[in-house]
C-alpha cells in the first residue's frame, strides 16, 4: 500500500516527478543523518573528524557523491517548482516549467559533477 506512491507505470511526467521527489527526499534524509553523525565526530577532536572526511573524499566514494548531488539538485529545483505551483502560481504554465526544471537540474548537476570530479581526482 505504502509503495503505491512509487508506481509510475502509465503515469504522466508530473506523477513521476512527484515519485522522484519523494525518493530523493528519503535519500537526502538518510544522508542528513549520516552527515550529522560525521560532524558530531568533531567533539572527539579535529583529527578524528579529518580522518572520517578523508575516507569519503576518495575516488571510491565519487560515484555515490555524484548521485547524491543529483538527488540534492533534483529535490531543490523541483522543490522550487512545487512551491511555485502549490500556492496557485503559474499553474497554466506547468508543462513548460516542468521541462525547464529538468533542464536546469541536468545543467547544474553536470557542472557540479565536473567540479567534484576535478577536485577528487586532482585534475
Amino acid at each position: 500500500m505504502w509503495l503505491k506512491w512509487f508506481d509510475f507505470r502509465k503515469k504522466s511526467l508530473f506523477h513521476i516527478s512527484y515519485s522522484l521527489h519523494r525518493l530523493t527526499g528519503v535519500v537526502l534524509a538518510v544522508y542528513l543523518v549520516m552527515h550529522l553523525s560525521y560532524l558530531t565526530s568533531l567533539r572527539l577532536g579535529r583529527g578524528v573528524y579529518e580522518y572520517f572526511i578523508s575516507t569519503t573524499l576518495t575516488p571510491a566514494f565519487l560515484g555515490f557523491d555524484i548521485l547524491l548531488v543529483l538527488a540534492g539538485v533534483y529535490h531543490g529545483v523541483n522543490g522550487i517548482r512545487l512551491i511555485l505551483h502549490e500556492f496557485g502560481i503559474a499553474y497554466e504554465l506547468r508543462r513548460p516549467i516542468l521541462y525547464l526544471c529538468y533542464v536546469v537540474v541536468l545543467v547544474v548537476w553536470l557542472y557540479a559533477s565536473y567540479v567534484l570530479y576535478s577536485y577528487v581526482m586532482g585534475v
Binding site: 512527484y18 521527489h21 502549490e86 496557485g88
Partner: protein, 241 residues
C-alpha cells in the same frame, strides 16, 4: 483503418476469486470500448457486470482502467487505442464489488463532507429572489462545476491510495467550486474542513488527477488555488484569532 479484430482481456471478480477472461471483438471504426463490453455481454458472457448509462460522457458511470489508464469507456474508441490487445480493469483505489463495478459509497460520502451546496445566510424558499452574477464571476468557478464524479482522478491520486481518509481531488475541486462562487457565503465553514487533517495539505502535487480528468476540470489547479487560500486563512486565524 476501418475494422480490426481485438482481444478484450477483462479482469473479473465474483466475490471470492479474481480471474481474467478473454474475448474476441470485431472492432469497427467509431466503436467504443463500452460498445465492446455490451458486445461481450450480448454474445459471449452475459454475467459480465459493468456500470453504464448515458453513453455520451456526462453521467460518469463507465470510468474504468483501459490499458492501464483510467478513461470513460463510452468515450474511448477501440481503434484509437492502436493495439489489438485491450486490457480492461476496474479503477484503482476502489474496492471491487464485481467485475468492473467498484464501491462508490465512500467517494460520495467524502464529497458530501465538504458541504458541496451553496451556503447563504438567508434561505428564502417560498419567495426566492434572483441573485446577480456577472459572466466574469461565473467563469471563475464554472470549469470546476463540470465534474461528473467518475472517480478517475481519485483512482490515480497517490495521496488517496496511501491514506483512506484523504478527501480526494474530486471533493476538493468541488469545495473550491463553491468557495469561488460569488453567491456563496459559507467560506469559513468550508475552509475549516479543507484546512483540516484530510484536506489540501495531503496533496503533494503529483498532478495526475488533472491529466486523467475526462472533462478537463483540472482538480490539481483547484487544490493549489485552495491551498493558497488555506494558507492565508490559517495565518489570519493564527494572528487575528
Amino acid at each position: 483503418m476501418e475494422e480490426m479484430e481485438v482481444i478484450f482481456r477483462i479482469k473479473r471478480f465474483d466475490g471470492e476469486r479474481e480471474y481474467w477472461s478473454n474475448f474476441v471483438i470485431p472492432a469497427k471504426k467509431g466503436m467504443t470500448v463500452l460498445e465492446g463490453l455490451f458486445y461481450v455481454k450480448e454474445n459471449y458472457d452475459s454475467s459480465l457486470a459493468f456500470r453504464a448509462s448515458c453513453r455520451m460522457g456526462i453521467c460518469g458511470s463507465c470510468a474504468i482502467k483501459i490499458n492501464g489508464k483510467p478513461k470513460l469507456a463510452c468515450e474511448t474508441q477501440i481503434l484509437h487505442l492502436n493495439s489489438n490487445k485491450i486490457k480492461v480493469e476496474p479503477l484503482d483505489n476502489f474496492k471491487v464489488i464485481k467485475d468492473l463495478i467498484t464501491e462508490f459509497e465512500g467517494f460520495f460520502v467524502k464529497h458530501s463532507r465538504v458541504k458541496p451546496y451553496l451556503i447563504r445566510k438567508e434561505d428564502n424558499y417560498a419567495e426566492p429572489v434572483e441573485l446577480i452574477q456577472k459572466p466574469s464571476q461565473l467563469s471563475k468557478y464554472y470549469d470546476y462545476s463540470l465534474c461528473i464524479k467518475c472517480g478517475a482522478c481519485y483512482s490515480v491520486c497517490p495521496a488517496s491510495s496511501s491514506r483512506d481518509d484523504y478527501l480526494g481531488p474530486a471533493a476538493m475541486a468541488s469545495a473550491y467550486r463553491f468557495i469561488a462562487d460569488s453567491r456563496d457565503e459559507g467560506y469559513k465553514e468550508r475552509m475549516e474542513i479543507v484546512c483540516g487533517d484530510c484536506g489540501v495539505w495531503r496533496c503533494h502535487f503529483a498532478g495526475e488527477c488533472s491529466e486523467v480528468c475526462p472533462k478537463g476540470v483540472e482538480p490539481a489547479k483547484a487544490i493549489q488555488k485552495l491551498r493558497f487560500k488555506s494558507a492565508l486563512y490559517m495565518l489570519r486565524k493564527l494572528f487575528m484569532g
